[in-house]
Amino acid sequence: MTRSEPDAVPVLALEGVSKSFGAVRALRDVSLRLYAGEAHALAGENGAGKSTLIKTLAGVHRPDTGTVLLDGRPVVLHGPADARDAGVAVIYQEPTLFPDLSVAENVFMGRQPRRSLGRVDHRAARTAAAALFARLGVDLDPQQPARGLSIADQQLVEIAKALSSDARVLIMDEPTAALTGSEVARLFGVVRTLREQGAAVLFISHRLEEIFRLCQRVTTLRDGALVASDLLGDPQGRRAPESGGSGASGGSGSTGGSGGSGGSDRPAGSGGAAGPADAADGAGAPGGRGLTEDDLVRRMVGRDLDELYPKQDTPIGEVALDVRQLTREGVFTDVSFTVRHGEIVGLAGLVGAGRSEVARAVFGVDRWDAGSVHVDGRPLTNGAPSIAMAAGLALVPEDRRAQGLVMGMSIERNVNLTALTGLGGTVRGGLMDRRAERSRALDWAVRLQVKYAALADAVGTLSGGNQQKVVLAKWLATTPKVLIVDEPTRGIDVGTKAEVHRLLSRLAADGVAVLMISSDLPEVLGMADRVLVMHEGRLTAEIPRAGATEESVMAAATGRGTTGRAA
């Protein structure tokens, strides 16, 4: 078995690392050890410092204090290239592909296969990329340019890029945030194989069940400080080892102290004093067994969680959004559906099924070739987002970096971008009303619990989840009648996820029609009154809440059993 022993030398480790950005202390005296053959999860709320930790491991950030250890020896990483040369492959939270290069060129960026005289061997690169995609079960053409890829496809290209380098350490910052169940399963299969071959894995996800499926150990951060590092058990607290050879987890779990210190003296732990004083707070934990999902949530948030899917039943009203036979050549065909006031309709499907594309056409950022869209009975103009907005439509787009935010612009201005048409009360007599802008931004930042230092800070300095909250704020502030949300909780932590769900539910109760696209199937099932399913550009099923199960939705999403079995 490749499981680490307490005295084994970690492949990659951090010792007592602190990192500040101005007055924000993103990491405080954090230690972390990654062992060969072990999948290690990093958990924590939005802004807890997870991405910062990863960037420190990858040489993007230099720690203010503390050291990075490679094979037990202190190293100074001068940049991502250093980390790569040391065998550390990193998938960052936001995809950073070169839009004008092909997918294959992106996968092999910086280490293209060569022919004689140093010429790049494009054919070899294409073949290798195609093989990687086949292994991941991804249907992507290596020769197509990266521009225009959906966020999920971008993420998959990043994954292929990391896997292609045969790294000893694989670090993944929310790689699954935009992926649906089947892509996640494929990814985990590949990662498990790598781990069994001796790679060390560091994995971040806000979907806790994924952490339990993939990892043996979890380290939790809160406000930049280490809370604890524990072995994982069964999510429900039973002692059932998962597949992939983690049978030892129960046994080695018992090496941790069950005394009050919450496991911080474990082999890969914090070195004792690192956790904040309230760390013991979350330590209703694991004596001889591993951590459960509830334990983990308590570690992350410092309290028990409210219900994750607080869907309330509301009376359903008139048709608000009426989409008729909408077609965009080669993208989606003959899509018809309605969303009523007070209703939350889920739109499910695999990556590439055309869900986001339909949403974009309805909102007007893309044109449609045939069909019509009506809001409250009034037709929308093809390809005119400003008219859609005036009619009360809002679209929270999937790709916050490219479509949702202007990264260099302040939080305040980003929130108010949707008010420039004068609908948000921030324009008076044709001029911007700075005070109204400020209070509008502040109001929504507080309601969505955005964690920031100053509203004037560039939105790009926020953590990924907090950026997502700003995108939500920007659109919720328009008080829409019809709200289309595309991956609304991508990268949002469990606590806030429940908050966003409560918000959506409350909006529906107030009569807003909500169309929710999400790759997180439990989220769709938990929130939707009705589930629409798309498969290869067509609507294949419409399933009422009562009949919507993982099985029925997945069957329609993969093209097995269509409308027939919906009822």
Binding site: P385, A388, A456
Partner: protein, 345 residues
Amino acid sequence: MADSSPKRAARRAGALRWDGVVGVLLLVLLLLSFGFVDGFGNALNLSFLIGNTLPIALIALPMTLLVVAGEIDLSVASTAGLSGAVMGALWNAGMAIETIIPICLLLGVVCGLVNGLLVTRLGLPSLAVTIGTLAAYRGIAQIVLGSNAVTDFPAPYLDFAAGRIGSTFVPYAFLPFLVLLAVAVVVLHATPFGRSLFAVGANEEAARFAGIRVRRHKLWLFTATGLMSALTGVFWALHYASARYDNATGLELSVVAAVLLGGIDFDGGRGTLGGAVAGVFLLGGLQNAMSLLNVSAQSQTVVTGVLLVISVLGPRVARQIAARPVALPVPPAPQTSPGPSERDR
């Protein structure tokens, strides 16, 4: 609970804004020139300085908005030349100046519209489009006027364009410029239109997703730029009492240089009109001072070139300095994260 004031103060103190830097440089230049350059400080020279800089300043106003929105117009000087040439030709043909000037301005609108339509409808890059129309408009100007020079415009107009208020340093034409400047400042920095230009320049796709009518905004900007260029062409012909097809040749480079020097980011999305105007007069003042000091034309060109390079580097360096973390004795207090729960004991 948003901004704790010590943090903000520190942020302010740490921030180094390039438009501020240019303003200070302009002040330093003026003080030095007053002190050490013979003939700089007298009212007549100052009025020359301002009058000669006005063409650059006029076009810099719309150019600033255009560059903020991520576009550029290199045909401005040719539009000005064309406008002057048409003015001369129509004057020779005996038309009244009161009719000619509106025609010239209309022509500028058309020139700008052509640029704008090529960029927004056909999706061509504005750099390429306006290099093309730079040549085309100048060519038309030459066809219209040939190598003639028209000089005999009515005296009141010539006096207005070249004269100054009494014996002060203020040219008459400076007053309408101030009005236009005020309008441009309000449009860029206080209206929704101006606000959206920053978003368009920084991330056009996100701007589109926010319902901003990107193409229409850009069309307006190109049209306004054409109009201001034509106005500048009229002013130029009157100010120098000479309408020729090659009026204002090369002026586009001075305008772009001044705007970049003023801290308008060539990549779009960043900058202030105050900075741009400071950049214009810094460049104009420097040239004036150098002429008085008998610096050769070649050396002046070198200085201008060096300034251009600085203008591209400077703002970036300033931003990096501003972004550098400042050590602060402020306890880290994350703003809105839920605190640890109070546990019953």
